[in-house]
């Protein structure tokens, strides 16, 4: 490699509690060390947060929020805006599906808090290297990389890597550890550019790749060799068995037709039969070619094999025989139905291209669908790939499309053609077919997001029990509880899929076994409530209120596509607003959706609203 090592630190830090009592270590689960890197001054600093702080925020999303809060009103491109990588206490332990981590900053796409849970091996390597997280601020004068090898940190010049696609970066670096990088899309200012992990896993949503680019940070590699201390390995083994047993009992996860066998694409046929597959930019909810674009079609044509995150046995990722990724459900759906594309190869190639350029597939496909609606041009086949390339390079039509569908549609004078909330495009579940999903898209603190509350669990997948998908009854509290739950899952940092069968009851057992901190399902849920409310406080500081917690008007005025014996009517606006008002009450917000001092005090959150 031609790179010059410009800065290098050996960060010998006393391991918390090396002095100890009894078992040799005072801190279990957490490393007790956060690495702060300033790319402007090329300096580093090690912080050792007390266990009380770690236990209060758990890790991942929760802990990331505490580093984001002081800077949240800065512009995302301000050098002082931190880019935060945070693991959780369960990472690098035998706790199931716990190899994930959270990447957070302020979202360039939405202006809200931006955070995304990502898999692969980065979280595990970070923990192995002895760090709970890394907070990166400042801006390098030229493109650079960060190389972390256990307690050594280097900042490396990397001007020659500018323009490199994510797959080439991963190959170029040849690390035995894990890589994080951005592609050309982020370098060229794509608002929905992502961060790529290990060449295959994406911190996809919210445009966080752009924050990396604003720091001139092209890549990181992290290699670790340490172990994470587990307080009670025997108890963790029992918790693990409880979780495995529940996963095995889950048809959606482990069943013949479930995620283990078909990837998240397993949802595709179901969305089709429920008539909630967003089609033609959400103008229809049923795609006539779905039967030939389903996971079975991929399996037959490409003979798929499975792979997945470190520390997971569900292995939700699928590959073709020649090693290309089979798209995730959202991508599979949006690059087929949303664009009315009937060619499998186009979907696979669009997915590959987005990953290599480094941009979010959901926003990319939805932005093309918005373009198609506004221009009246059919965007299928090679035209899809051409436009994606244009976006990734910011050239021709891409110059405007790279700003996302909301900017694009507004610039074209047709804002209603952008199917987005707070500027982020909706995922592949039409809200007219699942009213909890409608409310969840609106209340999500990072713009339209299906994962914050994932009501598809009960509205479609019948887990833990089925609810009436065409009703708002009871949904306000269900959404609030699910948001709390997923906030804590993203803090632990575990995989949300597993919670379609296991629950915080089993994970509380794992958490306590790992950390030694007493906990229960409800204690964790209470931490989740605090973490989620913290999001709301940060968003309010940037002016987000009820006006932003809303859906595109199309869903209230146009019906979806009905099926045999059922209609998919437009959402009832009054009912939606009533459910949202209830949500605000339940969440402890005021009628405008703004946080209150009273709730902040109850949740022991700092108040500067």
């Amino acid at each position: 490699m031609p790179e010059a090592y410009v800065s290098m630190w050996k960060l010998r830090v006393p391991v918390p509690g090396a002095s100890d009592e009894g078992d040799g270590v005072l801190m279990h689960g957490w490393c007790g060390k956060i690495l702060h890197i300033d790319l402007t001054t090329r300096s580093v600093r090690v912080e050792q947060p007390p266990v009380e702080t770690l236990a209060r925020w758990i890790g991942g999303k929760g802990l990331a929020g505490t580093y984001l809060r002081p800077h949240i009103t800065r512009d995302w491109s301000d050098p002082l805006m931190p880019l935060i990588l945070m693991t959780g206490p369960l990472v690098n332990t035998p706790s199931p599906t716990s190899g994930r981590m959270c990447i957070a900053s302020r979202s360039p796409l939405t202006g809200t808090i931006g955070d995304t849970s990502v898999g692969g091996t980065l979280g595990t390597q970070l923990k192995k290297a002895g760090w709970d997280g890394i907070v990166i601020s400042g801006r390098s004068a030229d493109w650079c990389g960060i190389v972390i090898d256990d307690d050594t940190c280097n900042i490396v010049e990397a001007p020659d890597m500018k323009g490199m696609t994510t797959d080439r970066v991963a190959n170029h670096l040849k690390t035995r550890g894990s890589t994080l990088c951005i592609g050309p899309a982020a370098e060229n200012g794509v608002r929905f550019s992502c961060i790529s992990i290990d060449g295959h896993y994406l911190a996809g949503r919210n445009g966080l790749g752009l924050v990396c680019a604003a720091k001139n940070l092209k890549y990181m590699t992290i290699t670790g060799s340490g172990r994470t201390s587990v307080k009670d390995p025997e108890e963790l083994k029992l918790a693990r068995e409880d979780i495995f047993r529940l996963v095995a009992a889950s048809p959606i996860l482990f069943g013949e037709l479930g995620i283990t066998n078909y990837g998240t694409g397993a949802l595709y046929d179901l969305m089709d039969t429920r008539h909630m597959m967003p089609t033609d930019n959400f103008r229809k909810t049923w795609f006539d070619a779905a039967g030939t674009m389903n996971p079975y079609a991929y399996k037959k044509r490409y003979g798929t094999s499975r792979t997945g995150c470190r520390g997971c046995h569900i292995l939700c990722k699928k590959q073709t025989g020649d090693g290309r990724a089979i798209p995730e459900f959202e991508t599979m759906s949006h690059f087929s139905a949303l664009l009315h594309n009937e060619d499998l190869e186009t979907v696979i190639e669009a997915n590959r291209l987005c990953n290599q350029l480094g941009m979010d597939t959901i926003s990319a496909a939805a932005t093309l669908a918005c373009y198609s609606e506004i221009t009246g041009e059919k965007v299928t086949g090679d035209r899809v790939l051409d436009l994606l390339n244009a976006i990734g390079s910011g050239s021709s039509e891409g110059a405007l499309l790279k700003e996302g569908s909301a900017h694009y549609a507004a610039a074209k004078g047709q804002p209603e053609a952008s199917i987005s909330v707070k500027g982020q495009e909706l995922a592949a579940y039409d809200p007219r077919g699942a009213y909890g999903m409608a409310l969840a898209y609106a209340t999500s603190t990072r713009g339209a997001c299906h994962l914050r509350a994932y009501p598809i669990g009960h509205e479609i997948l019948r887990k833990p029990v089925a609810t009436d998908r065409f009703s708002f009854s009871g949904k306000a509290r269900i959404i609030k509880i699910s948001e709390d739950m997923n906030a804590v899952v993203d803090s632990l940092t575990a995989c949300k899929f597993v919670f379609l069968s296991a629950s915080l009851e089993e994970y509380a057992r794992a958490y306590t076994a790992v950390t030694g901190e007493p906990s229960s399902a409800q204690d964790l849920l209470a931490a989740g409530e605090r973490i989620y409310y913290h999001d709301r406080i940060m968003n309010a500081l940037n002016g987000f209120d009820a006006g932003a917690d809303d859906l595109p008007m199309r869903f209230f005025t146009e019906p979806g596509t009905g099926g045999a014996g059922f209609e998919v009517p437009p959402l009832n606006r009054a009912e939606f607003l009533d459910a949202r008002a209830k949500y605000y009450r339940i969440r402890g917000l005021d009628a405008s959706g703004l946080p209150t001092r009273e709730t902040a005090d109850r949740l022991e959150l700092e108040w500067n609203g």
Binding site: D242, F244, R245, L246, V247, A248, A249, S250, P251, I252, F254, G255, E256, L257, G258, Y262, G265, A266, L267, Y268, D269, L270, D272, T273, G291, N294, P295, Y296, H458, I460, L461, R462, K463, P464, V465, A466, T467, S473, G474, K475, A476, R477, I478, I481, D484, M485, E505, A508, S520, A521, Q522, D523, L525, A526, E529, K582, R585, I586
Partner: protein, 386 residues
């Protein structure tokens, strides 16, 4: 949601788990709604205020559950540890506490889905719907029943029965009906060649299975094979309410639309392929579950692992008992059940329930299910000296 809480309150009474007016169910969205007024709601409101849930169910069960709970919690036990599959998979254990005050309830429900308060009732909750609370309640009753009868048989064999247990057993025995039921009038006659007929037949068979108390919490699953399609009840569906809850699953897997199908789809599918059966009913009849866990090999090297690996093939009245956990994991019953279905009238899965195949409709499958349970019940009472 008012409709939901009334529905589950009525259902608890209808299936004999509660006396009329015993169930107290609250649902909280923005405000709490109760199915009826009760002084206890003051204390339960505090529970709603203290933990993050949306449904609460509190009810005193009927006999014989009350007596069983009294006995099982006799000397200040803090939990009951039944060994059946339901408890193992979903409830883990059944905590017990002394008084129905908010602090006690909150402390228990923070970590578990249920709390037994002897002489007062069973309390359960939901975070999505009152149906969860209902399911947990019904599961507790089932697990308590299985635990009580299993313990009695075991201690009788070991010669460790106390007078107290004998008395409790006599008290309980009075409430267990003499014979389950007479065989039913015939169900719809197959073969069924149209989808709507298949679905009607499945709905009918499901309702009968619940009516005859051959399943707990109304789970279990039912399927029918028509040509190259398996019609199967969905996951988390109540067998007495299968309308709209049946998934058609192509045998060749060409659609994943059945991803909501029962967790036992694979076991059903393999059974169809290996046995040529045309229908399958899977229920959780109590005495079949109890008898499946009765094993006379205290020194077996797999003791404690019986639900996952049993080194011997055991039979009750010619019906094999196989190990296997719910679903499709490495120890899943999909690995053990289908082969055992070949050449046998039905199969009992250890600590879990019965799978009964039929030829062209559900009549023979139902008779088999009922027959196995009746046989297990008779065997049990013969073994305890009746």
């Amino acid at each position: 949601m008012e409709g939901m809480i009334r529905k589950y309150a009525d259902k608890l009474v209808k299936v004999g788990l509660c006396e009329p007016d015993a169930p107290l169910i609250g649902f909280l969205d923005a405000d709490v709604v109760w199915n009826r007024p009760d002084p206890l709601t003051v204390e339960l409101q505090k529970v709603f205020d203290s933990i993050i849930i949306n449904s609460l169910l509190f009810a005193l069960p009927t006999e014989p559950y009350r007596t069983m709970i009294r006995y099982l919690s006799r000397s200040g036990e803090t939990a009951i540890y039944p060994k059946d599959c339901e408890t193992r998979t979903f409830l883990h254990d059944l905590p017990i506490a002394g008084s129905p005050d908010a602090a006690t309830i909150v402390a228990a429900l923070k970590r578990r889905k249920t709390l037994i308060i002897p002489e007062h009732g069973i309390i359960t909750f939901g975070t999505v719907s009152p149906e969860q609370a209902f399911i947990f309640y019904s599961s507790v009753c089932f697990s308590v029943f299985v635990k009580f009868f299993s313990d009695y048989l075991l201690q009788l064999k070991q010669g460790t029965l106390t007078d107290e247990f004998r008395q409790a057993f006599r008290d309980v025995r009075r409430y267990v009906p003499e014979r389950i039921h007479q065989p039913p009038a015939r169900l719809a006659v197959g073969p069924f060649t149209q989808e709507n007929r298949v679905i009607e037949a499945i709905i009918e068979a499901g309702a009968k299975t619940v009516e005859y108390e051959l399943v707990d919490s109304f789970f279990g699953n039912i399927s029918y094979r028509m040509g190259d399609t398996i019609y199967i009840s969905q996951t988390s569906s109540s067998l007495d309410e299968l309308g709209g809850c049946i998934d058609p699953c192509p045998l060749d897997g060409s659609s994943c639309a059945g991803v909501t199908a029962s967790s036992e789809l694979k076991a059903h599918r393999e059974t169809y392929l290996q046995t040529g059966a045309g229908s399958i009913i899977h229920g959780h009849p109590k005495f079949s579950v109890i008898m499946s866990m009765d094993c006379d090999e205290p020194d077996c090297e797999q003791r404690g692992e019986c639900h996952r690996r049993c080194p011997r093939t055991r039979y009750i009245d010619g019906v094999p008992i196989v190990p296997g956990e719910v679903g499709t994991g490495p120890f899943g019953l999909c690995n053990t059940l289908p082969a055992a279905m070949v050449g046998h009238p039905g199969v009992i899965v250890y600590g879990h329930g019965v799978f009964a195949p039929g030829k062209v409709d559900f009549t023979d499958a139902f008779d088999t299910l009922l027959g196995i349970e009746t046989g297990c019940r008779d065997t049990y009472f013969r073994m305890v000296g009746e």
